[in-house]
């Protein structure tokens, strides 16, 4: 049972101060020129207003674009390894959208699947989510096609829905109870607040069940994948703005004396992504790489990890230099028959 409360929008300032006093670091959407990213904020006035969606996802709070896993050096008694110091602080991600909050389940599934990824979990366990429901959407949004919605509570600790000059506050998790408790006097009873009337309308773009039925049978339909991917340039923009893409590359940055092992984001769209040392590349053409991207998110992840690898935030399609519109392509696949 999700408890509901109300809070005046003017109380945000006090809420932020309360969280900061309690030792939380607050990340929220911030404008950087024409783009928006999640960055540290001091007060609600720093938060970018009127956004449908940020340019970059909040993923980097738990999976930075690059990180040192450990350092190594030549010591007197051989190679010495120094683990990276764990430096994350308790962080509230504020003002993320319900689709983004949902995305962390996909990241968790990957990083806890066969082993517990310590650097990831160290950050992940210190993150809380205070999301804001969507009262507007654009042509790229398709959360309702991937099991979410503009007022979806899954993944959020607190979900705020703007209702006039107030927020309807939904306390979703135990951590949400804690976050509400820190500022209990800012909240009142939520009677008479109509959430549904204040949510964006996001049309369903494809039938997810149908897609999941059809997709595994399309592997050998070369023409379908070529047709969809001919204009794809093979860059990594879609993967790097995606809140659920987790693929990474391991690099050693070293001199002969020592160095660091580094984890960096990677993308299945790159031609080198699966290139073997032998020279063989199992995904030699862009159509196979595009197929992998779609299959990974909509076939392999649900099959193996019981979670969809997409939350319908639409960032990939907004960022694509050549307008590879994912929802449109998925609709074509779903309707293409078996």
């Amino acid at each position: 049972m999700i408890e509901q409360k109300r809070m005046s929008t003017t109380s945000l300032e006090a809420l932020f101060q309360r969280y900061k006093t309690a030792g939380w670091w607050i990340l929220a959407p911030r404008a950087e020129g024409d783009i928006t990213t999640f960055g540290e904020v001091d007060s609600p006035g720093d938060v970018a207003a009127g956004l449908i969606q940020t340019t970059l996802s909040p993923k980097s709070a738990v999976l930075p674009i690059w990180e040192e896993l450990f350092r190594f050096r030549r010591g007197e008694s051989g190679i010495e390894v120094v683990e990276a110091a764990e430096s994350s602080v308790p962080t509230i991600i504020f003002g993320l959208r319900p689709c983004d909050a949902r995305a962390f389940a996909a990241l968790d599934a990957v990083f806890t699947w066969d082993s517990q990824d310590e650097p990831y979990l160290a950050r992940r366990n210190k993150v809380a989510f205070v999301s804001i429901a969507c009262n507007q959407a654009d042509d790229y949004c398709f959360c309702t096609s991937t099991g979410g919605g503009p007022g979806d509570t899954a993944g959020s600790d607190l979900l705020l829905t703007g209702v006039g000059d107030e927020y309807l506050v939904e306390v979703v998790t135990e951590r949400g109870v804690e976050l509400a408790g820190i500022a209990g006097e800012l909240f009142g009873p939520a009677e008479g607040m109509d959430k549904a009337a204040h949510l964006a309308s996001v049309p369903v773009r494809f039938d997810l069940d149908r897609l999941r039925q059809v997709l595994p049978k399309t592997f050998d339909r070369e023409e379908l994948w070529i047709d969809q991917s001919l204009r794809c340039l093979g860059c990594g923009a879609c993967a790097y703005v995606c809140p659920t893409c987790v693929c990474f590359d391991i690099q050693d940055e070293a001199t002969r004396h020592g160095g660091a092992r580094v984890r960096c984001w990677d993308s299945c769209g790159f031609s080198l992504f699966t290139l073997h040392t032998s020279g063989h590349n199992p995904r030699e053409v862009q159509s196979h790489r595009w197929r992998q991207r779609v299959m990974h998110k909509f076939a392999y992840m649900p099959e193996r990890l019981q979670v969809l690898g997409c939350v319908g935030c639409g960032r990939c399609s907004r960022a694509c230099p050549v307008d590879m519109n994912l929802a449109e392509h998925l609709a074509v696949i779903a309707e293409s028959g078996e």
Binding site: D138, G234, V322, D323
Partner: protein, 267 residues
């Protein structure tokens, strides 16, 4: 429009072209690159103000090359790119047919590099007033301030390489960022890795950039890469003359040495 569609149909039906690289309608009322291989699909081709991509990038993509001879809807940026690619021996005479939509709805068909040379015009105002202001502002900064400006801009870089992928002149089959023995450019998107990549990208395009602006348009985090190229092109033109993309036979600054080259740029 119908002129373009008719020309595309004729080319595909006669087998003179295996694919027409053009524009189709895209998301949110925009346009997108479109490859038409089937003559019955030429109705999807459009051409208007929304059609901004430099389609020449597709001419060297192996997936597109493997289809057979292309025809391409030729904006000025596309024509300049073809000529520059030709001068770098990447496109040969009669490798590609350019279709130039005319104001009256008709289409001019260019079969040879010579015809393309005749149709290309020197780019003048390639920057928007906003971009020009930004460039003027950068130019007024001190050397240290300029360095900080670009450090700041590059700090947003994700290393997604959309700038590289969208650039017709970035066709190296093995880009230097992918050479790892030795590792010239650090892979991570940290300050050194980003600065390394962007310096190499800008310098490798010196004298070759046709100033289509595609790198900046493709960038998901709005780094104004075209401004950097614009300045370099101006510098190269002043030092060595010439302008990329106006001739199919000209050699470009980075590949040429003459004894009367100026060396005033060495400071």
């Amino acid at each position: 429009m119908t002129g373009l569609q008719d020309a595309a149909r004729d080319l595909l039906q006669s087998g003179e072209a295996a694919v027409v690289i053009g524009f189709g309608g895209g998301s949110a009322g925009g346009a997108r690159p479109l490859m038409v291989r089937d003559p019955t699909s030429v109705g999807d081709l459009i051409f208007d103000d929304r059609c901004v991509h430099n389609l020449a990038v597709y001419l060297l993509k192996p997936e597109v090359k493997s289809l057979g001879k292309p025809a391409i809807v030729g904006t000025q940026a596309v024509l300049r790119s073809i000529l520059q690619l030709a001068s770098e021996q990447q496109v040969k005479d009669r490798d590609v047919i350019a279709l130039i939509p005319e104001a009256d709805g008709g289409v001019r068909r260019l079969e040879t590099l010579g015809e393309i040379e005749g149709a290309v015009s020197k780019p003048d105002a390639v920057l928007s007033p906003e971009e020009q202001n930004c460039l003027d502002e950068i130019a007024s900064l001190s050397r240290e301030e300029r360095w900080r400006f670009w450090q700041e801009e590059f700090s947003r870089c994700l290393k997604c390489y959309a700038c590289r992928a969208a650039c017709p002149m970035c066709y190296c089959s093995q880009c230097i960022v992918e050479v790892n023995q030795p590792q010239w450019i650090p892979v991570p998107a940290h300050p050194l890795g980003n600065m390394g990549w962007h310096l190499v990208r800008a310098m490798h395009l010196a004298g070759r950039c046709v100033n289509c602006g595609e790198c900046a348009r493709a960038c998901p985090v709005d780094i104004p890469l075209n401004l950097l190229n614009q300045v370099i092109e101006k510098e190269v033109a002043e030092q060595f003359g010439g302008k990329a993309g106006l001739s199919a036979t000209a050699s470009y600054a980075l590949s040429t040495f003459t004894t009367d080259d100026k060396d005033t740029f060495i400071r």
